[in-house]
Assembly symmetry: D2
Homo-oligomer: 333 residues x 4
C-alpha cells in the first residue's frame, strides 16, 4: 500500500480512453484538433483569455515559464524548499541559461511578502549582484499548504511593485483549489500570476501538464523554447487529449477531492502528530523511527522526511480500504 | 489520404495496450520494472552491453547524446540537411550549451569520410576556431537513403582517427535496417557508433524513443541531463512499456517492413521520377506543380520539397488501398 | 619586418601616456572620471546620443552586442568569412547562450541585401527552424573592403523590414572611414546600425575597444552582461583613458591614415596581383609559393591566406622604410 | 583619503614600466616572449610544474577555473559570503553554463571541512538534486582571514574523498601569504588545490591576474574557454609583462607587506572594535553611525558593511601619513 507519491499513481481510465480516441492520423506536433482546443478550454476555466500549451513534465512547465519570465542574468525568488530548487536537477538554470534562485524561508514552504521584500532589499542595486526578476511560488506548497487568493494577491502586488514576474508551480493546483474552494481565476491572474504550471500528472493524468500563460503574448516564445528543449512531441494530440479529458465534467476536481479526502482521513487519525495543517493531499506526521517501522511492517510504504517525521501522499485513486487501514494503523501507534 | 509524415501516424494498438498494462502504481521516474528491463533488452538486440534510456522525442534523444559527446566549445560535423541542423530549433546548441554544427555536403544527405576529413582539415588548430569534437549522421538519411555497415565503418574509422565521437540519429533506424538486411550491431557499435537515437515514434510508437549508449559509462551523465532538461517523466514506465512492446516479436521490424513496402509500391509507379533511390519509407519525386495539384485534388496530402519536387512518406499502417491508389495516380500523371 | 597583423603592433605612445596619467586612486570599475566621459565623447563624434562602454577585446565587444540584440533561440546573419564565425572560438554562441550564425556569401566578405533576404527566405516560419533575429557586418571587411553609407543603409532598411537588429563589427572602423571619407554617423546609426564594436586595439590602442550603442537604453543590460562575463575591470579608468587619448586631436584617424597609406604603397607596387581593391589596411596579393618564399627570405613576415594568395596587413606605425622596402620587393617579383 | 578598496589603488610604477617595455611588435595573443615565460616563472614559485595563464579580471580567473572544474549540472560548494556568490553578477553560472553555488556558513567567511561535509550530506544521491562537484575557498577571505596550510589541507582531503575539485580564489593571495609566512606551495597544491586565481590587480598590478593550474593538463581547455569568453587579448604580452614585473625581486610580496602593515596600524588603534582578527589588508570595525560620520568628515572614505560595522581596506601604496592619521582618528573615537 503505497503512500510515497502521487507521482507514482496510475492514470485515470478516462485519460487512457482519451489517448486511444486521439490515436489517429492528424497533423503532427500541436497543429491537431485537440491541441488547438486548449486555449479556449483554459480561457473558459480561467474566465479570461489565456494561452495554454501542453508539456510532458512539471519540470518542463516550470522551467519554460521561468525562461520567458527571467533573463539569464536575473534571479528568481522562491522558497528554500521549492521543487525548482530541490528536485529539478538545476533545470531552472538550464532553461534560463543561468538565472539564479534566490531562496527565502517560510513556514510550510509558504512564501510571504515580507520574506520576498527582505530578500530583494538585501541585493545591492549594482551590476555586481544578480538582480531579482521573478517570483515563483508552489500551490499547494511542498508541505501541502494551500494559498488563499488574498495571500497570492499580496505577493502579486509586491511582485508588481518590485518589477518581478510571478509564476505559480501548480503541480498540485487542483488539490489546493478544492481545499480552499476558491476559483481558478481568483488565485491566479486576478492575484497577479503571469504563468501557471497546471499539473495533471499527479492527479490522474498520464504525462501531460499544461502551461497556462495569462499574458498570451508570451506563447510564441514559449512555443519556440518548448521545441528547442525537445518537448514538442510529434503526436502531441495525445497530450492535449489527456488534458481535455481531465477538464471534462470536472474530472480534475473530482480526482483532487478524492485525494484530499484520503489525506483528511489520515490526518483525522492523529491530529496531534500533524507537522502542518493538511490542506491538500500531503500529510506530514511526527512519528518515531520505531513507529515508522511498525507502519512499514504493516505494509505501508512512504518516505521519511526528516528525523522523527514522515510524509504520506494520497492519490486520486486511494479512496478506499488502504486509506482506512492506514488511518487505523496510525491511530493505534 | 496523408503522406506528409510518418510522424503523424497513429500508434500501433499493441503499444496502447502496453501502456494500459503498465498503468498501475509503481516506482516513479525510471525505477519501475519496465524501465529496468531496457538495458537488457537492447543489449540482447545489439549483442553487446549497452545502456538504454527512454526519452519522449527524437530531438531530446539526439541532443542528450550530443551533449555528452561534445563539449560546449566543440563542433559537431553533420550534413547540411541533417535534422539536427534544420528541424530542431537550435536544440543541439541548447543542450550542449553552445556547440557548433559544422556542415558538410553530400548526395541524398549522406555524409562521406572525405567530406568529414575535408571539413576538419579546414579548421586551423588553434584556440580561435571551434574544433570538431563529434560526428553525427542520420540513418536512414533525411532523403531516405540507408547506410551500409561498411559506409558507417569507414566514417567510424575516420572519427576515431580524428578524435571525434560518433552519433547516429536513427529516427528511421528500423526502416534502414530492414532495407539493408544488416544487423543492428554491424551498422552501429561495430562500425564505431558511440550513441544511437533509436526511433520508435515514426514507426508505431506513441511518444517513446530510446537513446542507446554503446559506451554504457555515459549513462549516468545522460540520466542527469535528461532530468535537468525536464525529460524524466514521473510515469516513465509507460515509455518503457511502449518500447518493450515494439521490440517484442519484432513488431518494430514488421512495422518498418510495412512502411518500406508501401514506399516501394509508390516508387515502382514512376521510377523515372525518383530523385533518390528509395531505401526506406520516403519517396522524393520530380513532379510539376500541375501534377502535384492533380494528386492533391485526388485527395492525397504531402509536402512540396523543392521546386518541381515532392516528398511522400509512408507509415507502418499504410499497407493497403491508399497506397495502391496513390501509386496508380502517380503512374497516370 | 612584420606584416602579419595590426593586432601585434605596439600601442601609440600617447596611449601609454594616458594610462600613466590615469594611474591614480579613483572609483573602481567604470565609475571613474574617465569612464564617465565616454558617453559624451562618442555622442559628439556620432552627432547623436549614444551609450559607450569600454571592453578589452573585439570579441567581447562583438559578442556583448550580439547578446543584447539576439535571443538564445535566434540567428545572426553574417558573412561566411566573418570574424565572429571564424575567429572567435564560438564566443557568439557563448555570450548569446546558443544563438546560431546564419552564413551568407559575398565577394570580399561583403554582405549584400539580396544575400540576407535570400537567407531569411530560406527559413520556414515555424518553431522547428531557428529564426533570424540580427544581422552583423564587418567594416572594413575581413578582406579590407569598406562599406559606403549607402550600402549600409540598404542593409539597414532590409534589417528593419525583416525585424533584424543590426550590428557592425568595426575592428577596423577607422580604416574604413578614412578610406571612404564618410562621417561616423552616416555609416552607422543613420544607416540603421544599432550597435558598433569600435576598434582601437588594431589602431594604436593597448587593450581598449569601445562598444557604441545607438539605442542607449541597451546600455544597462550590456553593463550587466559585461560584468557577468568578467569584463568589468576594476581599474577600468585605464581603458577609458586610452580611448579618450585616441579620440583626442583625431589620433585614431591619423593612425588609420598612416596604416591605409602604407597599404596603398604596397598595392601600388603590383596592381595586377591584387585580389581585392585595397580600401583599408589589408592587402591580399596573388603570389606563387616561390615568390612568397622570396619575400620571406628578404625578411618580410606575413600570412599565407589561400593557395597562391598572401595577406599583408599594415599598422599605424609602419609609415616608413619597411613598407617602401616591401613594396620594392613586391615590384621586383 | 580612500580606504574603500584596494581595487581602486593605482598600479605600481614598475608595472607601468614593464608594460612600456613590452610595447613593441611581437606575436599576438599569448605567443609572445613574455607570455611564454609564465609557466616557468610560476613553476619556480610553486616548486612544481604548473600552467599559468593571464586574464584581466579576478572574475574571469575564478570562473574560467570553475568552468573546467565543474560540469554545467554540478554544484560548487562555497561560503555564503564568497565573492563568486555575491560580487560576480552570476558569472560562475555563465562560465560553467549553469552550475549551482551550494552555500555554507562559517565565521569570517572561512569554510570548514565540517560545513562542506554537511552540505554534501544534505544532498540526496539521485538525479533530482544537483550533486556537488567542486569546492571553492577565498584566501585571504572576504573578511581578511588567512587560511593556514593545515586548514586548506583538511579541506583538500575532504574534497578528494568526496570527489570535489578544489579551487582557491586568491584575489588577496599575497596578503594571506605574507601574513602566515607559509610557502605558496604549502597552502595550494600540497594542500590539494587544483587551480588558483592568483591576484595582482589589488596588489599593484594594472589589469592582469594569473590563473594557476596545478593540473597543467587543464590548460588547453582553459585556453579555449578564455578565447571563447573574449578574454584572449591580442596584445597579451602587456598582461604577462605586468605579472613578471610583480614577481621580479618579490615586488608582489613587498606590496602585500605594505598593505598588511597599514592594516595592522589601523587594527592597533582600536583592538576592541575589531570584528575579525586582521590577517591581511582588511579591517572590519564596530563603529556607530555617528562615529563613522566623524571619520568621514575628517576626510576618510570607506564602506559601511553592516549596521554598526565599517570596512577599511588598505593598499600597497598606503604606507604613510594617511594611515597614521586614520589610526589616530579611530583611536580618538
Amino acid at each position: 500500500m503505497r503512500f510515497f507519491s502521487d507521482n507514482a499513481a496510475p492514470a485515470h481510465p478516462r485519460v487512457l480512453e482519451a489517448i486511444a480516441a486521439s490515436n489517429c492520423m492528424d497533423t503532427a506536433y500541436d497543429g491537431d484538433s485537440w491541441s488547438r482546443r486548449l486555449d479556449a478550454a483554459f480561457s473558459d476555466l480561467f474566465e479570461t483569455q489565456v494561452a495554454a500549451l501542453w508539456v510532458t513534465s512539471g519540470t518542463a512547465a516550470n522551467c519554460l515559464a521561468l525562461a520567458v519570465l527571467c533573463p539569464p542574468f536575473g534571479a528568481i525568488v522562491c522558497h528554500r524548499d521549492a521543487h525548482i530548487e530541490n528536485d529539478e536537477a538545476g533545470a531552472p538554470a538550464f532553461f534560463t541559461n543561468g538565472a539564479k534562485l534566490m531562496l527565502v524561508d517560510g513556514e510550510g514552504a509558504k512564501v510571504s511578502p515580507e520574506a520576498v521584500a527582505d530578500a530583494c532589499d538585501r541585493v545591492r542595486k549594482d551590476v555586481h549582484q544578480v538582480q531579482p526578476a521573478a517570483l515563483s511560488i508552489t500551490n499547494a506548497t511542498e508541505y501541502g499548504l494551500a494559498y488563499r487568493s488574498e495571500e497570492v494577491g499580496a505577493l502579486g502586488e509586491l511582485a508588481r511593485s518590485r518589477g518581478l514576474a510571478f509564476h505559480m508551480d501548480g503541480a498540485r493546483f487542483a488539490n489546493a483549489l478544492v481545499s480552499t474552494g476558491e476559483s481558478p481565476a481568483d488565485v491566479t491572474w486576478r492575484a497577479g500570476i503571469d504563468a501557471l504550471s497546471f499539473g495533471f500528472v499527479k492527479n490522474g493524468g498520464l504525462n501531460a501538464e499544461a502551461l497556462i500563460l495569462f499574458r498570451p503574448e508570451l506563447a510564441e516564445e514559449v512555443a519556440i523554447r518548448r521545441k528547442r528543449a525537445g518537448h514538442l512531441l510529434s503526436k502531441g494530440r495525445m497530450c492535449a487529449a489527456q488534458i481535455l479529458a481531465m477538464l471534462e465534467d470536472g474530472l480534475w476536481l473530482d480526482n483532487a477531492r478524492g485525494a484530499n479526502a484520503a489525506a483528511q482521513t489520515l490526518a483525522s487519525a492523529a491530529p496531534g502528530r500533524l507537522v502542518y495543517p493538511v490542506e491538500a493531499n500531503e500529510v506530514f506526521l511526527r512519528v518515531s523511527s520505531e513507529e515508522a517501522a511498525t507502519l512499514r511492517s504493516a505494509g505501508f510504504d512512504f518516505y521519511d522526511w526528516a528525523p522523527g517525521e514522515i510524509r504520506l501522499v494520497t492519490s486520486w485513486d486511494q479512496g478506499g480500504e488502504a486509506v482506512e487501514r492506514l488511518a487505523a494503523a496510525i491511530a493505534r501507534l
